[in-house]
Symmetry: C2
Subunit: 326 residues, 2 copies
């Protein structure tokens, strides 16, 4: 293979065309508007891009993968619609959320219709692949719901362990990235071993990304990060930093952390918590953990039995995720 | 075939055992309680019974159909969980609804998990049947959501046509009965022609049932019906009776109906509306329509290429549905 059939930009364009013109044939007319509303609040279509890129990396025909690529994108958007109801979020990427525009009841039903439709889209894959694709997809779909419920429950708990936290972010974010790659590799006729490796690549990448997200909220550069530094601290949010701090702090520092939860002076609250994180070595530990996870992801990527020219776009996607250039 | 392998009672018992002990393996622990809550508010498991009975009628192995039978039961219950949120219903069959007991957010996520799980259950069917089962199931699942959205929208409309009303009840109720039979017949290796006939049997049966439900609310015997007579009239509910009345009434009677919507005296409101229904011939028309639909259902049932001994339990189920002995 001298060069790949399609560049990443071409894949992205083809996917957008598919989503715009083909993906919603037969979708209920009355629920199309809320569905289109959430889908036009575009991210960079990370999950379908992972799926299509994985498919092509193994020499598969990406036209066979367009339906499943829409499956993971529509699933992701379904989960946003229901999550935004649950989190009472009014705004997503600067636009009003579905339940804000169309009401909660329509948002529930539109989400349900989107979820059902993901299975129609999955069925656009070659029929002989379906018995292999369906369990992989079902499993990840259930894990994401499970992760969301744990995330909701965590808010009411005084404390969660680092292990519980890792499980939650694994389910809520990482498994869908991993499964997108896995589904694409199945359609691309990869070996079982490569399927395992590419899943692991996505999983570690997702975990690294999620921990970095926590890290940047406390230690990022406000200009680059694009959000106020310390927002998580102000909300007493259970982040990798906080659960790590609580897991290594002695009684006195633990008490100091719990006292800070009640602190009303915002500047003081952020500064004091950051100082505690530094003192406990949480900053370094967190940085080391995310870098380690990213390296593990790279190790799995490099172990894939694919030509170098096919590895590059997967590496590019990994970098765009980890370095948040999207 | 001298006799069927299992009686209806045996099928029902086997299904209850399956649902209790096998159907929820691998289901998220955190969402199991709300799911078990709705499923223990048992009806008579009409949909799985239709599926298993159809499978056996064509000589299929019902053990291959237990998973799909749970699919239609869990789907039906998923739709109740989300519908009860949307309809703000606190009580179902005398028990508190899922969102009342566990909160709206958990009810949304439990419903989502149930919906995803229906696909795990469908996959318990023999693998070679999956490409045939999945589109049938996907289609009906989407129609039910579509029907629910139309039902919600209807409440805000001043008037709906008889045609729109029929479409709504078809989607909201009948198609799932029809599809349950269809799925069972596929697993039972029936011919395409029989699949069409058994679907039609279920569809007409469902429509007859739904119209009868409207009929009894206005013209039933309160003791047998188990609800207050005239409840639909008091709520200005769009029923087969009402849409029929509006479709045949002249200007004066139409105005009388709209005036009655505002009537505060409950006794007077019910009595006057019933008198209008009688005067317009709506009672007779409705009765004739439901009987005609039931006869059409019977015609399809009788046209099935199955032995008489296999037709009887399908007839029994039809009678138990139409005559509400459940």
């Amino acid at each position: 293979m001298k060069q790949l059939k399609y560049t990443s930009e071409q894949l992205r364009q083809q996917f957008e065309d598919y989503l715009e013109n083909k993906a919603f044939e037969g979708f209920p007319e009355v629920l199309l508007q809320p569905t289109k509303h959430i889908l036009q609040i575009k991210g960079k279509r990370i999950r379908p891009m992972l799926l299509l890129t994985a498919c092509q990396a193994f020499g598969g025909d990406v036209q066979n993968a367009m339906g499943p690529a829409a499956t993971v994108e529509v699933f992701h958007n379904f989960s946003l619609v229901h999550d935004d109801i649950i989190d009472e979020a009014d705004i997503r990427r600067g636009q009003p959320t579905v339940h804000k525009v169309f009401g909660t009841y329509k948002a529930i039903l539109a989400g349900d219709a989107m979820l059902i439709h993901t299975y129609n889209l999955l069925q656009k894959a070659p029929a002989e692949k379906l018995p292999e694709l369906l369990p992989v997809y079902n499993k990840v779909a259930m894990q994401v719901i499970d992760g969301e419920q744990h995330d909701v429950d965590f808010e009411d708990l005084p404390e969660v362990t680092a292990e519980e936290y890792m499980k939650m972010i694994e389910y809520k974010t990482s498994v869908l990235l991993a499964a997108s790659l896995h589904l694409g590799s199945i359609i691309g006729n990869s070996s079982r071993e490569d399927q395992q490796l590419i899943y692991d690549f996505g999983l570690k990448l997702g975990l690294a990304f999620q921990i970095k997200d926590d890290y940047l909220d406390s230690f990022g550069d406000a200009a680059t990060f694009g959000k106020r530094i310390g927002g998580d601290i102000l909300m007493n949010k259970k982040t990798y930093l906080l659960v790590t701090a609580l897991s290594i702090a002695g009684d006195k520092d633990r008490q100091a952390i719990f006292d800070l939860f009640e602190e009303k002076d915002e500047e003081k609250k952020i500064a004091s918590m950051l100082a505690l994180f530094e003192k406990l070595g949480v900053r370094q530990k967190t940085y080391a953990r995310m870098e380690e996870l990213y390296k593990e992801a790279m190790r799995s990527l490099n172990a894939l039995s694919i030509v170098e020219i096919a590895r590059q776009p997967l590496l590019d996607l990994a970098n765009s995720i980890y370095h948040r250039s999207f």
